[in-house]
């Protein structure tokens, strides 16, 4: 089970879906959801000074409406500005190879495609999680 997860997504309904799915699949007991990448960047800047409370894994939406920058830029900031100590990836309805290549360059470890049936993908991700944690698993797209 993952110790703690942070979800950054502008869609509040998906927060509920993700929370229930994680609970039903026993993925994590601690989930925090944010609406904007600016807020997430601010928290990671604080966690750089005091890491207590920092999540173990971060799921970031690709296009976060109402934010200054998109999910790929947030991943780049978390990895290269605030310290690379979390498992991080994209969760989006998009399946663009170009965007996925950019995400890899920014340091994303996985890409989960959002759809009505998110649970099987999260279950598969849960199985692969240890590989992401110890940085042995390559970038993977969960379709």
């Amino acid at each position: 089970m993952i110790d703690s997860i942070l979800l950054v997504d502008d869609e509040n309904l998906f927060h509920l879906v993700f929370e229930d799915s994680c609970s039903l699949l026993d993925i994590t007991l601690s989930l925090r959801s944010l609406n904007s990448s600016d807020e997430a960047a601010k928290l990671f800047a604080e966690w750089q000074k005091d890491p207590s409370g920092r999540p173990e894994c971060v799921f970031v939406d690709l296009n976060i409406i109402g934010s200054s920058f998109d999910g790929i830029e947030l991943i780049r900031k978390i990895n290269f500005e605030y310290g690379n100590h979390v498992v991080i990836g994209i969760i989006s309805s998009s399946n663009e190879p170009g965007e996925q290549a950019k995400a890899v360059q920014a340091g994303a470890q996985f890409w989960i495609i959002k759809s009505d049936e998110i649970e099987p993908r999260l279950e598969e991700f849960k199985k692969d999680y240890d590989g992401y944690k110890n940085r042995t698993s390559p970038f993977k797209v969960y379709k």
Partner: protein
């Protein structure tokens, strides 16, 4: 997490009496510590929580799906509205163009009417000018005719005068010679016959001249029917 025995008992009684149990992920963190009743209680709470979460997940997904559909419909509506606005704009532009063309056509129509009126006036003027020219022509012809006739009459007068002078002169001379011969009692047989012949010829010529003059006069005058 291990709870005290009394707390466990109270939680189990609350669940039995009011069906209120622990919810959420905290249930997964509580250890029954060998208490079978509390383990059963925790299992029931987890099952209840799972069931509730499953229902909520399904409902949330439905709402999410409906939202996505509504968003799509909204986007389609917006697209249609934009298309309609575009069409409306085109129609308005066409209307403006038509109105401009209509104004231009009306201006052309007014100009044509004005030109037609001017043409009519000019035609009337031209007709009047034509009539005036014809009148002038007729007048000129009449004047020319009059001048010609006047010239002819003058010429005829001159001819008649000269002819009369010649006739009178010849007559007077012949008659004088004949009278002188009679007075001198000279033989007048020859001169008498000559005088009578001469006189007859002169009379004949005089009538011939008068007839010619009258013929010229009435021949040059147009008939009333021809007028």
């Amino acid at each position: 997490m291990i709870l005290e025995k009394n707390t466990k008992k109270q939680l189990i009684e609350l669940f039995k009496s009011k069906n209120i149990g622990l919810e959420g992920n905290i249930v997964k963190l509580i250890d029954s510590d060998g208490d079978e009743d509390f383990a059963a209680y925790l299992k029931q709470c987890i099952e209840k929580d799972t069931s509730t979460r499953r229902k909520r997940l399904e409902m949330t997904k439905q709402v999410q799906s409906q939202n996505a559909e509504l968003t799509k419909l909204n986007q389609e509506n917006q697209k249609m509205m934009e298309e309609l606005q575009g069409t409306l704009k085109n129609v308005e532009e066409s209307k403006a163009t038509f109105e401009a063309q209509n104004i231009e056509l009306n201006a052309w129509k007014d100009e044509n009417l004005r030109l037609t009126e001017e043409l009519k006036v000019e035609m009337v003027k031209a007709e009047q000018a034509k009539i005036a020219a014809e009148n002038a022509k007729t007048e000129a012809e009449n004047n020319l005719d009059i001048v010609q006739k006047k010239t002819q009459f003058e010429l005829i007068n001159n001819i008649v005068k000269v002819a009369l002078y010649v006739i009178i002169g010849v007559g007077t001379i012949t008659t004088g010679i004949y009278v002188y011969s009679i007075a001198m009692k000279v033989d007048t047989d020859i001169i008498g016959s000559t005088w009578s012949n001469m006189f007859g010829i002169l009379l004949t010529n005089s009538f011939s001249i008068v007839g010619t003059i009258l013929g010229v006069k009435y021949g040059a005058t147009p008939n009333k029917e021809e007028k």
